[in-house]
Amino acid sequence: MNNKEEIVIGYLEQTDDILNIDDELPSYANGLPYFLENEDKFEPIKCQQCGNQMKMLLQIYAPLNKKHASFREIYVFLCLNEQCSKNNSSVRVFRMQSQQKPQLLQSKNKEYILSPQNKSFIIDTEIISAKENNNELQVAEELLPTNFDDEDKDVDLKNVKFDNENKIYENYLKSTEEKEDINELDGLEQDQQNNIDGCFLIYQHFLTQYPNHIVRYCFDSQSKPLWFSDKKQPQIDSKCPHCKKNKIFEFQINNSILTYFPELYNLEWGALYIYSCPSSCQVGGQILIEETIYAHSDEQEFISPNLKVDPNTKLVSINTNKSNKQKQQIQQQQQQQQIQQKIDEKDEEDDDW
């Protein structure tokens, strides 16, 4: 899991004024989303399971060095319905980008707000160099009972306090009880512990070292995410529909975000992993481009998708280049789909005829 690039981590900070920040576009959580285009151009974002409108968890400003993606925002949406929360399709992620500096249009749809009682938070960033990250990883593997501690490493243990352990060791040496003489301890050098989740201990270690960090960003094809658990680690094979390249890991959202929003307490996932197209293609003429998101939970009841099949089959926005007639046809098709899904709307359909 050694990274070569530096990692940017994000913390939530309370603020009253979202727009008065250093970056051109905001990165923040819990509030009305700031879209880069008028939100009438696309439908409000709905859950694929239950059809309710989803709430925005956060949006991140993540520009790339490419010309067409120099102003790029990523939005993460959640469905808070109880039945949906045990399913991977209760989270969705979208990307919006533009070449010139866009006008920030705040959405007027109040249903997007996640937690109306709380204020909004901006996302404050901090950089961790690859060396520090790798060192933390090795410290974790050395000192925690993970099962990954076989390799030789040079661990920098300057920051570690061993007060308690020194006391325990001294008591052990001083104790006058009968002790057997140990020249070489027998037994296996590597004893596997079957019920210990090593990945979770490393994840927990990072979250205590950088307390309360929400986002962990490293957009590199070599970088690997910090997994929540060693069960159900997915194989993400989804491809961008435009350039057919494999999607790479962009960032992850840790579940320390749940301490800020008590509404989210019954959500099952431990971390959300967002994968996106490495060249940030403009797919078709769409405004909102859907990317792949994986909600990692170690519970067996959590339904994870079979991510080997490309899940990007349902797209949200309507293509603005089409003529009015084609737009009507698309709308009629969508209505017919709704008839099949919802039996309750039968009466309204009769009125349309």
Partner: protein, 273 residues
């Protein structure tokens, strides 16, 4: 406090001239320098990082959140529903006077192309001398590091111990409820109930484990190569685990089906809304 920080911008007050400062946020690249606006909120100082210092525990699992909020009254609820404990702070929260004692500390070696690589392996037993016991082990380059890892491992492997009577049921239970045996490798350890006042009749290694589990009187019989301490310790530990797996006549009665703490808490949350 500014020793080990990694801040990308000078922490000096930002209300100075709006000189373009190289700053990095999310995303790769960006278009060179981003201008800093005046009146931006100053960055919060992150404190220095220490492993194992006094840092507040933010729970990461559902069980951890319930424990921190005080919704779960005791460890026995967790054991009753066989919920795996993934965070060792949960154990610390319930058992405040847990004792940790290393039982075996010694070097282990591995042959590499550059000679032998020696590390220290520690077996630590954790218990409250009443009814909980945990056994953990870890090998690391330094002894203290091995002890640290073994303590965490032991807390994650915590089990309850069932005690019973040898004869008359007066005063508190003092011995194993029935004859139990545990095995690991070639070692077999058998624990047999003993009358009050016998004490623990066992080898030094397993005597310590039984003491920390809170058993006052016990006869033991062992078989196999008990010189392999790791197997001997694990066999004793498995024997203690068996005490709650054994069905005795006083457990024959019907038990009420109870809802798990997760179900109880979700109903509580739903009632709040």
């Amino acid at each position: 406090m500014a020793d080990q920080e990694q801040q990308q911008a000078p922490p000096a007050p930002e209300q100075e001239q709006a000189a373009p400062v190289e700053k990095k946020g999310f995303g790769r690249g960006g278009r060179g320098q981003r201008e800093r606006r005046e009146g931006g909120a100053p960055r919060q100082n992150r404190g220095p990082r220490r492993f194992g210092g006094e840092q507040e525990w933010t729970p990461l699992t559902k069980l951890g959140r319930l424990v921190k909020a005080g919704k779960i009254k005791s460890l026995e609820t967790i054991f009753q529903f066989s919920i795996p404990i993934k965070e060792y702070q949960i154990v610390d929260h319930f058992l405040k006077n847990l004792k940790e004692e290393p039982l075996a500390l010694g070097p282990v070696q591995k042959q590499t192309c550059a000679g032998q690589r020696t590390r220290f392996k520690a077996y630590v037993v954790v218990g409250d001398n009443h009814q909980h016991i945990g056994l953990g082990w870890k090998s690391a380059k330094e002894v203290q590091g091995a002890i640290k890892g073994a303590v965490i491992n032991a807390k994650l492997n915590l089990i309850p111990v069932r005690k019973g009577y040898w004869g008359n049921k007066i005063a508190q239970p003092h011995t194993v409820p029935c004859k139990v045996t545990g095995k690991e490798g070639s070692v077999r350890v058998r624990l047999v109930p003993a009358p009050r006042g016998t004490g623990i009749v066992a080898a030094i290694t397993s005597k310590k484990v039984l003491q920390m589990a809170g058993i006052q009187d016990c006869y033991t019989q062992s078989k196999g190569s008990t010189r392999t301490r790791s197997n001997f310790l694990k066999a004793t530990f498995h024997a203690l685990k068996e005490t709650y797996n054994f069905l005795t006549p006083d457990l024959w009665g019907h038990t009420r089906l109870e809802s798990t703490p997760f179900q109880e808490h979700s109903e509580y949350l739903a009632a709040l809304k």
